[in-house]
Structure formats: C-alpha cells, structure tokens
Amino acid sequence: MTNKAKEILVPENDKTLRIAFLYVGQGDATLLSIPSSQGRKWMLIDCNVDKKAEGIDLALLLKDLLDDGLDIFVNTHPHKDHLCGIEQISEALDIREVWHSGFEPKGEHLGTYEKLTDLIEKVGESNTTILRGTRSENQIGDITYDILSPAEHVSNDIMSGTDDEVNKRIHEHCAVIRFKHGVNQKQVLITGDADWVAWRDHITGYHKDRLPSTILSAVHHGSRTFFMEKEDDEPYLDHLKTIKAEQLIISAPRQSESKHDHPHTVAMNLYKDQENGGFAESNILHLGENRECVIVDIYEDGMYNIWTDTELAKVYKFQHEENITSQPATPAAPFKSTQLDRKPMGGE
C-alpha cells in the first residue's frame, strides 16, 4: 500500500530527476531522487526541525518514502538549521554515505554538529566525502554535478577567532553544488548559506561557466547576505546576473515567523529586479508563504516542470502540543470518524 510520501515524491518515469524542496520552516531540506541504471538513488541535502513554523517531520516522511534507506546525506555547512533532526533521521532509516564541508562550527551549533560526527562514524570513513570545489564534472547515477564551493585553498585557517567569526566564516565556505540533467541540459543550483563574500571571492569568477542554472535555490533562506553585509550596503549582483536562473525557490518560513526576518525584504526586492538577473514574481516560490514544498522534475530530454505541493506539509508536519488548540477549523466532512481527546467536565 502506498503512502503520501511515495505518491508525491516518487517519479513515474525511471529517467526523471526529481528535486523536492521540502518545507522545514527556518531551514533547508532538499531531497533528490536520482535516476540510475541500478535503481533510483536518494540524496537529502541538509535537514531541519522547526515545529513552531509547522515544518515537516523529515524522519517521519523519509521512513514512509524510503524502504531501502537513504543513499547520501549531504550537509552544506554544519549549522543547526541545516543539520537539526539528523539524529532522528539516522535512527529512522539507514544512511549509507555522508558528504559534508569538513568544517567544525562553534558555540550553539556544536550540539547538532556532534550528531553529524556520530553519523560520520556510523557510515565509516570510506563512505564519507569532504566537499571541495573543482572545475571537473562529477557523475552520480544518470546525472552530473559540479561542486563550486568550498574552495580548495580556504580550508585551513577557518577555525581561528571568536565563535561568531568562525560561524560567519563557515558561511563563506559553505558547499554550493550544481546538479544537471537532460539532453537539453537543465541545472539546479543548491547554495546553502554561501554569502556574498564567498560568491565574490571564490565562486563567481572562478566558476563563471558553471554558474548558469535553470533553478536557483535562494541563499540563506532569502537573506540579504547573498547580496550584502548590511542593509544599506551596495549590493553585489554579478553572481545573480551570471546564474541567469528562470525560477527561484526560497526555503524559509513566513517572514513574520522567522526570527531573522527571512526572507529579507531588501533581498526580495533585488530578486524581483529582472533587469539585474532577477525573476518574474510568479517564478518566485517561497515555501513558507503557503506552507508548501516545491517539486522540480527534469526529464531525460531536458524539459522540466515545477510545481508546488501542499499535501506533504499537512500530512507530515510535527504534531506539537502548544499548537493543537490553534489548528484551523477541523474539516467537518460528515464521513470522518470521531476522534475524541481529553475534555474535563463538571466540578464544583
């Protein structure tokens, strides 16, 4: 018997690359279903737990979806909004390989980071890959990909300085990967939280030919750090003009629910500026706005479709206590059986 996860996330055609940007509130979780002659490979890039913003419970969803476990977990950088819940996922299903940036965070991110090191220990060194930018193309299954960041030469001096300095620098050295598929190739650019300094100093110039992409996953949940340090700074726009994407996907909760006000209004305005590599408004899909997942299918011939799904977020959201009373009106369809809960009555 099938379930919602399988119904929505398993492509019908064996040769289709499906990329699902799962709604996880203030964080990222991108699931790739990769066509391969040895059967589909499943890759999860980052994960997060955000009960307050009603994000998806990834462990629950992946357990439903993957009977044979997860082939690869990719961590773009070791911050908790990209790693939270990895312990539960790893307990729920078998993970066979880990790719990560190789950096160690400090302060508040350390607790979650330890779960990643536990997982790395579990899968073993031979099944662990440290991501480093390269100009040579890689292949997995029937698709190809380019690792654009972190740059090979920046890896050594990252750990010096205060916690904040280290954590900020980790954004400079976050993994950026471009996945490609189809005869008439289409590309999806996964950017993690790579900030404008990284793009200016290490990525845009060096990887110029490898940047153009059909679909761009907005950096850092739609944060201005893709363009600038502070709101009033002159924005850096060369990367956006080079990427020249058609569709933008923003993995963030509603701005009002985000403790960092993601997506930043100043960034959104730049994203909408079509003269500087921005997007038509209908081509910007913000996951949190309608609590949706965005699904991209790239076919063997290079055609692609992109649409949103509202069902996964409804079916797999965390059931958490404080929110039960503020649920939207219970569907009153007459055919659903009654589900009672505790209701104290009477008393003096």
Partner: protein
Amino acid sequence: MSMWWDEHQAYYQEQRLFLSQNSNYKEKTWALDQRLISSGVIHVRGSHSGTFPIVIIYPDATPYQGPQIFLLEEVLSQDEVNVAASDPNTLTAISIAVRKRKIYFTRHQNLLGSLCILETDDLHSEQPEILSIDKVIKRVMDWCRGTLTNHFPLDTNEFELIQHFHRHALGLNFIISDAFFEEQIIEGDFFFEKIPGILNESFYGAGIIGKTKSAVIKNSFGHTNSIDRRLTVQKDNWIKQDKTVTTAIAEQRVIQGKWWSLDSEPSEVVNKQTFFNLFRDETSELRESWLRELEKPLKDADPFFYVGIRYPNRKNELEWSFFKFINLGISAAISAGATDLEVLKQQIEGYELEAIALETMTEAKFHVRNQGRVGHDRLKELEVTFFGLGALGSTLALQFAKAGLGRLKLFDKDRIQTHNLIRHQASLKHVHQSKPEAIAEMIENQNPFVSSIGYPQHSTYTLKPEEWRTIVGDQIAISSIADDNTEGYMNELAMLENTTMYYVRALRGGKAARIFRVIPGVDACKECLTHYFSENHPDFIDVPEDPNLPIITNECNNPIRPASAADLELISSLTSRLVLDELQQTTPQESNHWVWTTEQVEGLPYEASTPFQLHQRSLKPHPNCRLCSGTKIRGIRIYKEVTDFIFSRSLTSSPKETGGVLVGYMKHGVMYIVGASDAGPESTKKLTLFVRDTEYCQDYLNRYYEKTKGLVRYIGEWHSHPTQSVKPSQTDINSLKDIANQHEYTVNEVVSIIVSKAKELGVSIHQQDGSYKYITLLELSGAWKGSY
C-alpha cells in the same frame, strides 16, 4: 441556503483557506454565500509555462460531489462571482462560467467548458472518496500543462476526438471491430452494414480494403465474432463491388467511404476547415491527390458521402474518426470528362461536414471489464459442456458466455414453456423454442465472440461413450440437471472418459444448494457420495428437505420444490465463480464439495448451519466405490506412434520374442503411454524368452525423466509373443508382481502390453498381490507433443 452548508460551515472555511494558500493557483476573486465560488489562474511553470484562468464552483452536493472546474477566457469579476455564489440555483453559476468558457479542443474538456478529470476512483475505501482541493488543483494544472506539451496524465476515461465537433450526424452510429485495426493497410475504402434486429440500427464495420506502405492492395474483413457472420454483403461482394453492393448502397443498408491514416492524433478537428487542415499541402492548399480520391462523389454532387481518418492516439493505440459530407444544395453535378482541380475545390466547399458517433468493439475491448477476474486469453481457449438449461443452467451458460469462454456446448431435451420464464433467462420470444437453441441465440446476442452449439432434444441417456468422448471428452462439464438417475449415468461416462464434472443443484426451495466437483481419481465421484451419505460421514453435509414448502412437478413429471430466481441466480453465480476460478488455476483446489445455505438449517452441525455462507469440504474417492476403488489406473491411452513402434519391432524380431519398457504419465486416473523402448543390444531374444538390456533401457528412462522434469516415468513393460496369445505367462505374472513390490521401481501397479503374432494387443494391470486385470486400450493419434 442548502442544508449541508448550514451544518458544515467549517468545511467551506477550510476550503477557503486552502484555495488562498496554493502557489499553483492564484485566486483573484471569490464569494461564499449559497455556495463557494473561486476564480483565479492556474500557473504552469517549467519549460512550458502559462497561466490558465479558471472558476471553481462547489456544487450543492459538496463534498460528495467534487468542485466543477471551468476553463475561462478570463478570470470572473468580483460581481460575477458574487452573483454566481448568491443564487440558490447552481445553474446560474454554471451559466456565468459557460459565458466566459474557453475551449481548448482537448480531451476531457466537456462542451460546456468544464473538466471531467476530477472523478474519484478509490475503490478500496468504504467511505466516500473526496478529492482534496489541493489535488483538484494539481490535476487541473497537469491537464493545463498537457495543453502545452500534449502529454496528459494517463487515466482510464476515454473521450472522443470529435466530441467538440460543431456538427454531429444525428441518429448515425458506427461500430467497428478488429478488422479495422489491420496496421499494414494505410488508406483505402471502408464498409459498414446495418443488421436488422441488433445493434439498434447502428452500422457495423464489415472491413477495409486499401493499400499498404509498399502500395500492395490488401483487405481486412471481420471473422472473430458472430456479427461478422450475420452480414449479408460478404467480403467477395465488397472486393468485386458487384450488384449486391450497389443494391445495398441504394437501399441505404450499407455505407462505403474513403479513409486515410494520419501520423499522429490531430490536435483540433472541430469543423470542416480544421478537418481540411489535415489534408493540405505546403502551400496550404487542399492536396490534389486527396481531392482526386473524392472526385466521383464530388462530380456527381452526391447528396452525401463518407470519409474516415485513423491515427495513433495519445496512448499510442490506433483510433478512428468518421465523418459525413452533406451536399448543401450548392454543388450540382458536373459533366463527365476531366475535371479541373479548382472545380473540385468549389464542389467540396458546397458540402457541410458532420462527425459520426463511433464505438470500438474489438475482442480485447469487449472483454476489458472482465480483466483481473476472468482472463480472456485463457478462457477463450477452453470449452465447457452444460447439461441442463433450466433456471440454473441457463444462468450458468450466459455467465460463462459473458466471461468470454471460447465454446459452450448446450444439452437439454426440453423446450421453453411459459411456466419456465419466471425463473429462466429466456423470455416470451423464446417460448416453444428448444432450450439449447434459445440459449445459443441468447449467447450469440450477448457475446458475439463466443461460440456455442446446441444439442436440442438430446437426452443424456442417448449418449454413448464414443459420443461423450467426442463431445465432452476429457474437458469440463457442468450438470444442473438435478436428477439422480441421469447424473448417475453421466457419472459413469465421465469416470470412464476422464471428464471433470461439476454438479450443482438447489435444495430446500433454493434456500440451500450443493455443488460438487468430480475429477476422476482425485475427487469423490457421485457414487462415492452415496457411500459417504449412507455412512453419515462428517464431511458430507446432509441438507434435509423443507417439508413446509409445496411440491410441484417439472417437465419430466419429477417432483420439485419451487424456488425463486433470486435464489437460483445466486446459486448459479456461486457455481460460475467456483468453476471460473478453477479454470484459471493450474492445480485444482483441495475443496471439492460446497454447500450453500441462506437460512439456519436445523439438524446441521453448528459450523455448517451459518446462513449466507459457503461451507467447503474435501471428499476423496471412497474405498468401496465401484468406479473409484480397486486399481488406481482406470484407463489407458496410448499414442499411435508407440503402438506402431511396438508392431514394427515385434515384426522384425519374429519369430523370436522382443520387448522393452513403457513410459508415460498419469492424469486423473488415466495412464497416457507416450513411449516404448527397444530391447537394447545386450538383450536376450529367444522363441519363448525375452530379457531386455537393462542398461540400455535405463538410459532410455533417464532421458525421458530428465527431458520432462520427472513427468514421464517408468510405467511397465511390453513384449511380443510369437503365438496368437496375448495372455500373460506365469513368468510374466511373476516378474510383473515383483516389479509392483520392489520399491526401486516406484510403481505399485504395473502396465503390461503383450503383442501377439496377429498384431493383437493384450493390456493388463498387475498388482502387488500378483493379481491382474485386463483393460481396454484407447489409441490416440500421432505422437505425444510433450504438453500435459
């Protein structure tokens, strides 16, 4: 305000929320009053992108009836939405939607502009299947994407290409069968005939003639079903275009027209001009070659003529559409001689074009609704004989015909009488017709792909073993005669000829029934049951009569209890299901005896008395049964090739004895002898002694055993006598007794064939106690083909 909406306001509130929070659908206007209406655009994003204005109308029967989606030229204004939502009559909302409808000329959009892709189809759920609005939007989005990519999500519903054609030929219906799907023919003529009395005045497709890609003329006429045989204009008439054809055309009993193949399904065929677009050249003019093919009717200014197109549809299956050209009175006949192309173009402009309703009735499509429950590929290869065509038998026969059984043989000696009709499948028009003929006729009208033979006025008693062998043989038969004497006689014949029988009879006025199977040698036969009955065997469920029911007599003056069609059709259906299941299995199920009750019967054991249950038992052949006891081999069949071999070897060896081993297999108590070995080089052949070459014969056995994976094994011995005698000698008897007793031979009884000087065969079966009995050998033609 509708009652449901009054009671379930939260449902609409929730729908409102979902509609406003879905990036695939951008809601622009909405109103919630008597009903919920929402209008906005569907966004299709990706390599093909676009926006599609729609309106979503929630009907009064929400949520049991899903929302209706209309494709629009533009989004409804707030005023329009307000009016649509406020009128208690849903038709107002629909008419507002229809006014702004946009037709995409694509399957699954109805003439009014709404989509029919939203049917719910979860058959597993007991509760109403309600499609969430998210899913509705996703389906509409996928359909909209299909209008851009021509790749629609696959589904089961068919929708005719010509659904949106502006004019339809009223009262004209075509039905085509397998003949029209001959792929090699790519264009030519088609032929239809109207058959009086069936298909309700529709024209049935007789066949097509035309040229192949390599310009060879071929034809394809129907032969798969009985309608094909009922046509009055035959294939040869059509090919020769003789007087039969011209007369039939003049009498409008037949239709002939021209047709062409297309490489793919046309995207838009809605009127004459879009139809012409299929036949234009590079300069957008009508192709001369195409017009020339219509030259005759155009020059004659025929009042009408017919054309057809065939194309692979979106499921890559061949599909047809037919059209009728009608002279509007503008085009007049042109004198004979060469006609200018421009004149033909003018002539055809004087015609209007109408689409013709079409149904495809190929053998596969005809049986498609049986899929999964009765496999047509298997059933159409089988035949079943029906003894008794009363209320039970007529229902059984028609159910098997509907299942698509290849051939039915029908036995009953009686005619239909008016008193039968109250429970029978036959009707007033069959009164005084013999039952087999009436049922055969009904079968032909029910499933023309099934063949049936009636044996009218044929008492089962008149069947001799040879006839039984020819008609029934080792196939399957079902008896609903419910007469112990007749069924006793049939039991003897069936056991002798290895027929698998099913017996069914209603008990207690149809409130109970007994169905049992007899595979000879495997199941208790009818005679075994009398032993079990007299022993009060616990597995034989004895259903007592109901003395309170009246007694009437049947056609044979036998006393019977009345029963209603409701009871009897239930019993027939149970029987059909049991037999159909077994026909589709490779090995029969363990149960062979079924008792059905619809009431609690006093005196039955507790577990067998629960009403509306089928109680299953397994009864094996009874040790005291005259037909089943004694030797387990009840019959022997031998292939002619084997007897020929035995004769030729004994002739060569004469006057000295020779022989060898016999190999074969057993099926349902009958031993099939498929081979006999030679004596071997080391054998001893004397006038009164023969000893086979053990090593040589062992090799022979091993080869068979391996080749047939153990099916064909050692079964006995053959040898020749130089005399006229085919009686086993004491030496023979002793050796055969030893064989039966030695474990190494893996047989408990041994077949012996002795061939005399006069080419007579003596066949005996030898037991472990040394006893033996003669048995008649039945010869099968040719050689064993290795099939079992």
